[in-house]
């Protein structure tokens, strides 16, 4: 009766699309709701009148959040983390992927190094020894603690290796005949051919650094060194009265905690939302490139 290719059953299609639309709405509803809360007055929020649209529109929650020095400082540390971490991650990813993408006859130690890196995703020392090594290397309370321990993202390296392996060998041989060394090959042939995959991986790395919260939480003894997500973790999820100054407490009595939280959440989400169109354009390629073959 109904056929997929030629005669779509209208009832089935309508039902299917309605279900998908409902699903998407359920997905995005919590996010829009919190956004609406952040622009509403505390009284409107408390009386439960806010659903998907701000009630008694106000920017006072945002004013309160941006006037909190700790929030701005944490935001700054997150930006710093992304600006330092992304280039370092990318540089090391490329520098590791290039040699490992070689054939064994070109790089005889390849197998050894592949295993050297693979072992680290299969087995780890665990939380406590990891923490101690970082403390031993003197990185506690430094932004480098958030960058150096994860400076070589192995999964991204694998993605990059798979991409580098698609570079036609003839291209490389021709350049080699002309006297190009490995540095030149990487810089002049491999990298220009890999712009899409590098863009993809960079975006993932930026999102990863922006979203990371656990390392900041345990590697920064001084809360004033927290990146934004760690700061929010302590403020929203596990509120610790010690973190709030008296001024905060005073104002919190006036401004409902709930709308303030909503504003903080939305500001922390904003960079991801801005990057999202680009992310979305690239990640489908990225995923199918790296993870599943066959």
């Amino acid at each position: 009766m109904a056929s997929k290719m030629l005669r779509p059953a209208p009832l089935f299609n309508i039902l299917n699309q309605v279900l998908l639309a409902v699903l998407a709405i359920v997905c995005v509803f919590p996010i829009v709701h919190v956004l609406a809360l952040s622009f509403s007055t505390s009284t409107a929020a408390a009386s439960g009148r806010v659903t998907l649209w701000p009630v008694e529109f106000t920017l006072s929650s945002y004013r309160f959040v941006t006037d909190t020095p700790a929030f701005g400082r944490a935001f700054g540390i997150s930006v710093q983390r992304v600006l330092l971490g992304m280039p370092i991650n990318m540089l090391l990813t490329v520098l590791v992927a290039y040699p490992l993408a070689k054939e064994r006859r070109q790089f005889r130690a390849r197998t050894f190094f592949v295993w050297f890196f693979l072992v680290t995703i299969l087995f780890s020392g665990g939380l406590i020894p990891w923490y101690m090594v970082i403390r031993l290397t003197g990185l506690i309370d430094s932004v480098w603690a958030l960058i150096l321990p994860g400076a070589v993202p192995i999964f991204n390296v694998i993605l990059m290796i798979n991409f580098f392996r698609n570079v036609p060998p003839a291209l490389e041989e021709a350049a080699y005949m002309d006297g190009a060394g490995h540095g030149t090959l990487l810089w002049r042939i491999y990298l220009p051919l890999s712009v899409p995959v590098i863009a993809t991986v960079s975006l993932f790395v930026i999102v990863g650094h922006w979203n990371a919260w656990f390392d900041g939480l345990i590697l920064m003894n001084n809360p004033s060194r927290y990146p934004l997500q760690s700061y929010l973790q302590t403020i929203i999820i596990n509120p610790d009265p010690k973190m709030l100054t008296e001024r905060d407490l005073e104002i919190l009595k006036v401004i409902n905690n709930r709308t303030t939280r909503a504003a903080q959440i939305f500001i922390a989400m904003l960079p991801i939302l801005v990057a999202y169109p680009f992310l979305q354009r690239y990640f489908t390629t990225g995923i199918t490139l790296g993870s599943v073959k066959g």
Binding site: L23, A46, R108, V133
Partner: protein, 300 residues
């Protein structure tokens, strides 16, 4: 000096690897040395090699912890439910999306359902704590409006594991559909035409062409996910749980965190972590072997 021409050609490759090798040695292999803590009564003042050795006492202590088996059970139950839901939901949604003719509609749905994947569990938990609140959360407002009783999603230990599974699906199902959609586009359209000629209906086409067409992907991802049966999702649980729901919501990773970094029992925490790593290694190895057998899968 370097007569070996081949080696001279390889030297720059070693130089490229050098910085990464140093960092990985320190921050990935270094902690593996630190595993000795599991066999010590670690005293921060005495350091890694000055602390007294106590053999397997930490492991003995671990198995005498009153909640250890409960925690292991919670971990496996939560992770298991997540694995099942993490296959079922994305496959279903991918099948539904695949049947949508209108490209703009399909793309809008995809744009929306991928979004939570890119938000951290801190952000998502902040949102969830608000909307699931029993007093002022919008979900409970809605339930009341429909005549149901208020549910304490994050504070009732009978409900908590399911809250974890549903919210995990929220974060990850959209992204999960990508792989299945890719597999669906790989199915030869001629098969559908042939089925049509034979008079196969929509359900028959789905059962006999679509599902078999993506079954290898499903099998592959299922076997690979088995290696994760001890990972119930630290980031999520840590941001959503509370002592109220420890009975059903405490997992191995959160127990390690509290034992080690809150109660400073470094040795015990390292021992628990070590045992988990070893079992996980075994599971990953097995699932990888299975994946190789079932779907000819290799990482490289």
């Amino acid at each position: 000096m370097l007569k070996d021409k081949k080696l001279r050609r390889e030297l720059p490759l070693y130089a490229m690897l050098a910085p990464a090798v140093v960092l990985v040695l320190v921050y990935a292999y270094g902690p593996m040395l630190g595993i000795v803590i599991a066999f010590q009564r670690f005293l921060p003042g005495k350091g890694l090699f000055g602390s007294p050795w106590i053999g397997l006492d930490n492991f003995r202590f671990m198995f005498q912890m009153p909640t250890i088996w409960q925690v292991v059970g919670n971990t496996i139950l939560i992770a298991g439910m997540k694995i099942v839901a993490g296959i079922f939901v994305p496959v279903t949604v991918a099948l539904m999306l695949n049947d949508v003719g209108s490209q703009p509609f399909k793309r809008s749905i995809q744009t929306i359902i991928y979004l939570p994947h890119f938000l951290s569990w801190v952000i998502l938990s902040g949102i969830l704590i608000d909307i699931l609140s029993p007093s002022e959360g919008i979900v409970n407002q809605l339930l009341e409006l429909l005549g149901f009783e208020t549910v304490f999603f994050l504070g009732d230990d009978r409900v908590f594991p399911f809250t974890l599974v549903v919210t995990d699906v929220w974060k990850s199902f959209g992204f999960g559909t990508i792989v299945y959609l890719a597999a669906l586009t790989g199915i030869d359209p001629a098969l559908y035409e042939a089925a049509l000629v034979d008079g196969a209906g929509r359900w028959q086409q789905t059962r006999h062409i679509t599902l078999p067409g993506i079954s290898s992907t499903i099998i592959l991802l299922t076997t690979l996910s088995l290696g994760n049966i001890l990972n119930a999702g630290f980031d999520q649980v840590f941001n959503l749980y509370s002592p109220l729901v420890y009975r059903t919501g405490d997992i191995i990773d959160t127990l390690v965190y509290r034992t080690g970094l809150v109660n400073n029992q470094y040795g015990v925490a390292t021992a628990v972590g070590l045992l988990k790593s070893l079992v996980a290694l075994l599971l990953i190895g097995t699932s990888y072997k299975l994946a190789q057998k079932a779907a000819n899968y290799t990482i490289f």
